[in-house]
């Protein structure tokens, strides 16, 4: 926060004070290019992080608090065992409701896999009972134990078994995305520090003269800080714009494509990458100031 007024001052600039350091020609474009490339990459890392986060939340929501009991029993015992299972579920703490999935629904679920012509009624299909848990959740192992006693053909599938690794993977992906953004920022800081160092060395004579006429280190540093902050801001703005454009033009793969379909920004997410240029400018400001103050200490 303390840096915010500095950032504004760095960008507003002072044309006269800026001119004390001679223009640097083509190396200015290198800094802009670096900032642009970094911002472009950061847009994708950001999209990846947000998409992975969305995916994890989605799975978490859709599958949290639901479980399925699969019941296979000989034709004659099906009704009795279904009743037994429902009774067990009614008396198990942590279960909000249980619902036997009707045949038509089950058929609809299977249709994509076997085709619509499958005579589902003639197959020995298991019966599915969908459970919705309460907020407190249930004890799956205790339920399994009770089901084994009351309805030997019933198997509890509580989803967490295969849900957890998916959510973990999505979470890890999100972490990697943020880590990438951090690394991109650090790499940009390092590159800007290097170019600032080169600029300070190239202008050693100018700095000496400024010191001789009574300029404080902060005044000299500002001339360089303004320059690099502006370049980083311009470059990052261009890179961010290009990255966002590339994401907007990404062909829409449909839900089936999973992670790929989710890559991109949704709704208010589009505002997040807009933070990249000011962040890049702030990184440049700090990197240049630290470098400049350090170099200036070596000059009388």
């Amino acid at each position: 926060m303390r840096r915010l007024p500095d950032l504004a001052a760095a960008l507003a600039g002072d044309a006269r004070a800026d001119r004390v350091v001679p223009p640097s020609g083509f190396t200015a474009h290198l800094t802009q290019f670096t900032a642009a490339a970094m911002a472009f990459l950061a847009v994708f890392a950001l999209a990846l992080s947000l998409a992975a986060g969305r995916l994890a939340d989605h799975w978490d929501e859709a599958m949290a608090r639901t479980a399925t009991v699969r019941l296979s029993a000989p034709e004659g015992q099906m009704a009795a065992q279904t009743e037994a299972v429902l009774e067990v579920l009614r008396t198990t703490p942590g279960i909000a409701s249980a619902r036997t999935i009707p045949d038509e629904e089950q058929r609809a679920l299977l249709a994509p896999w076997f085709g619509p012509d499958l005579p589902v009624d003639t197959l020995p299909l298991p019966r599915l009972i969908e459970i919705t848990e309460t907020a407190a959740g249930m004890d799956a192992d205790a339920l399994r134990f009770r089901l084994a006693g009351e309805a030997p053909g019933a198997v509890l599938d509580d989803h967490t078994r295969w849900r957890r690794p998916l959510i973990e993977a999505a979470g890890r992906l999100r972490l990697l995305g943020w880590l990438s953004i951090g690394l991109i920022g650090a790499a940009m800081a390092a590159m800007i520090a290097l170019s600032a160092h080169a600029a300070l060395a190239a202008n050693a004579r100018v700095i000496e003269v400024l010191r001789l006429v009574g300029a404080r280190d902060a005044f000299i540093a500002r001339a360089f800080v303004r320059r690099f902050t502006r370049r980083a801001l311009e470059g990052a703005a261009a890179g961010t714009a290009l990255g966002m454009l590339a994401l907007a033009l990404l062909p829409r793969a449909d839900a089936a494509a999973g992670v790929l379909a989710g890559l991109g920004f949704r709704g208010a997410d589009w505002l997040v990458p807009l933070l990249l240029p000011p962040i890049a400018a702030a990184v440049a400001l700090v990197a240049t100031r630290v470098t400049a103050m350090r170099v200036l200490k070596g000059i009388t």
Partner: protein, 225 residues
Amino acid sequence: MIELEDVSHSYGGAELLSGISLRLQPGSFHFLTGPSGAGKTTLLKLCYAELRPTRGRVRLFGAELGGMDRDAVARTRRRIGVVHQDCQFLDHLPLTDNVSLPLLAAGRDMAAAAANLRELLAWVGLQAHTDALPPQLSGGERQRAALARALIMDPDVILADEPTGNVDWEMSLRILQLLVELNRMGKAILVATHDLNLIRAAKAQLSARVLRIKGRQVQLAGADL
């Protein structure tokens, strides 16, 4: 204003100056002379804190140099007008910007100082060259521009290192005339020069003390000049 007390300096090897004591009083006029390489520039640098003494104490406007941080040194330099031996301009900036550079560095109001700047440039006779870059100026013009820059902050002390180094005799006299006028306005002046004719010309107009660096020491030269 500027006091050196038992000051020695070496650039790493043997001492170039040793045990020097010097006091610049308000309104005084000093010449510093000695052969080339004697240490005139070095002594001046000690006076405006470009160099710190290897031994002894330097006091600037009552403050110990030893206790000053970089910002304090910067602020102190604004009170000392220095004409450097090699002028020290920013070659990419026009004359006016070079002369007003100390104002900019000190964060002064440039608009308010504009009239003062014009007057100063007219006084040193450079009003026709305000947009020239330093490399386009002649030696005498550069020296007068350097003097103008040294004066822009209205300092009480002016240190001039060979201000007539690369100019003909006529121009030397003109620059000396400016320095004499400044001294009459009450400013303390220290001029390093190896030009004894210049010193003689000055002595005809005012009472100047002549310091000579000899054998690493500063001596008060007699009336033998």
